[in-house]
């Protein structure tokens, strides 16, 4: 390998070439999130259900998915699903678009992760909310839909946001099964240049992902603020106080003690 200086201009030039393929990355990501959330809700319901075997199945599935690296699942779905479908239905799916395999993989994974988020958020809503609702005459179903779930959604929001960002990052692996998404295109550019400019391309991809992650964080924060009615988010005042406390705590070993006794 020759010594070749880092070329920032190439980095900047490559971004317009890469951005169109961001659409593919986002397509896979958003589809996975939408279908994965539906799957996740079903799984969460199963985990909360009173039917023992259903609960164990759902919990077992979540556990297994939590232990599995995304790339391993990706390969299993990519190589295994066609074989399975062929064996069961005698139907060839080998030549389906790679993005479908990616979406299936991430739906399976995201569903598992997010089912935990939903389940714990649902359980975090105090039982008293449901009890109050039914005691003023709502049916159990109404109580759940109108009182419990809206509150659960707000509790779930921060963790759901984290899961979304994580999913998009995991989605970066889709290029390994041949999908030409952002990184897939990046690798193409690198090989078109005989292996040069790898650093510039990867940095460009990293910046694009970083910006996406920051945007999503911001969006979720705004949504939280709009939906929250004082339940979970700390006010700006308390956040500032916390920061000041944390600072004083370490620097002076002093507890922030306002005018008191």
């Amino acid at each position: 390998m020759n010594y070749r200086p880092f070329d920032p201009s190439f980095l900047l030039q490559s971004i317009p070439a890469l951005l169109p393929y961001l659409q593919i990355t986002l397509f896979v990501g958003i589809s996975s999130i939408v279908f994965g959330s539906i799957f996740g809700i079903l799984l969460a319901k199963a985990k909360l259900s009173s039917i023992g075997p259903l609960r164990w199945l759902a919990q077992g599935y979540t556990y297994v998915m939590r232990c599995t690296p995304s790339i391993v699942l990706l390969f299993i779905v990519f190589y295994g699903l066609p074989k399975l479908v062929d064996g069961l239905f005698n139907y060839q799916i080998d030549d389906w678009d790679r993005s479908v395999f990616a979406i299936i993989t991430f739906v399976l994974l995201f569903g598992a992760y997010v089912s935990e988020v939903f389940r714990s958020a649902y359980l975090a809503v105090p039982r008293g909310q449901y009890e109050a609702a039914v005691s003023i005459g709502l049916t159990p179903l109404q109580a759940v839909i109108q009182v419990v779930i809206p509150q659960a959604m707000i509790i779930a929001l921060p963790n759901f946001g984290n899961s979304v960002i994580n999913l998009l990052k995991e989605g970066a692996l889709a290029y390994t099964i041949g999908l030409i998404d952002l990184i897939g295109k990046g690798n193409l550019i690198i090989s078109q240049n005989f292996g040069a400019y790898a650093i510039e391309i990867y940095l460009a991809c990293m910046f694009i992902y970083w910006v996406m992650a920051l945007l999503i964080e911001k969006v979720f924060f705004i949504i939280e603020k709009r939906l929250d009615k004082g339940q979970t988010l700390k006010t700006v005042q308390t956040v500032k106080q916390d920061k000041k406390r944390a600072r004083l705590f370490l620097i002076k070993g002093v507890k922030f003690h306002g005018p008191g006794s």
């Binding site: 232990c67 391993v72 295994g80 074989k83 990867y202 992902y209 944390a246």
Partner: protein, 236 residues
């Protein structure tokens, strides 16, 4: 669907051999990352403009970018950088042959883990009541002593579940080490598969191995958690 079960049986044990590399990679990265991450957490809590800001940017960047890109970038970058350094210093050392890719893998995963761990340490330290520090100071201990004897032990108990999460994710993350030609679990699986094109069988084996690994880690952490949190035993 017909699976070559004999192949699966044989390969399973070959793949198990890769566990040592995977575990070494994970444990080494954790051990190297921990002290640096702790220092970064302290920097963040002290909140001096430049150092705290630098840490925030670092953590944000590492958490906002996929680890695969971190691997691809560093694997392209590190050898050339080392090579440049070696050549300018005039040392007769062939970076590309002599350095085991395991080294690069440790660097990548450590850098990644540092960012994640520092956030965990930071929130654990903040959660410890300030009264603990005050009490320690008021009987004449130095701040350093209070940290060592009182605050850090409690912070570690709070942090443990999150550290377990980070460990499990790290084990899964090391599955990507094969891209750096490290012979971990997945790498061995891929190699075994390529002989007779038994890809699906090999990957199913790998799948089971990771479940085993994951379970062991979680069992260990649960045991550790119950051991060190005896003082929380009957608390509300």
């Amino acid at each position: 669907m017909d699976l070559d079960l004999d192949f699966m049986y044989e390969t399973f044990f070959k793949i198990l051999g890769g566990i040592s590399t995977t575990l070494e990679l994970t444990i080494l990265s954790l051990l190297l990352a921990a002290p640096i991450a702790f220092y970064m957490a302290v920097l963040r809590l002290n909140d001096a403009k430049i150092s705290s800001g630098a840490v925030r940017v670092y953590v944000s960047f590492v958490r906002g970018t996929p680890i695969i890109l971190q691997i691809l970038l560093l694997y392209s970058l590190l050898p050339s950088v080392l090579n440049t350094i070696v050549q300018t210093l005039g040392i007769n050392f062939n970076v590309f042959d002599a350095i085991d890719p395991f080294f690069y893998a440790v660097v990548v995963f450590s850098l990644n883990t540092i960012a994640l761990l520092s956030e965990v340490f930071r929130s654990a330290l903040i959660s410890i009541s300030k009264g603990q520090l005050e009490a320690g100071l008021s009987i004449g201990l130095t701040r350093f002593q209070v940290y060592i004897h009182v605050i850090i032990p409690q912070a570690m108990v709070v942090a443990l579940p999150n550290i377990c999460n980070i460990t499990v994710n790290l084990i899964k993350g090391t599955s990507l080490a094969f891209l750096m030609t490290v012979k971990d679990v997945l790498a061995i699986g891929k190699i075994a598969a390529s002989f007779g094109y038994n890809y699906i069988e090999a990957y199913i084996d790998v799948f089971f191995v990771y479940i085993i690994l994951c379970t062991i880690i979680q069992v260990l952490y649960t045991a550790a958690e119950s051991k060190i949190s005896t003082f929380r035993a009957m608390h509300v």
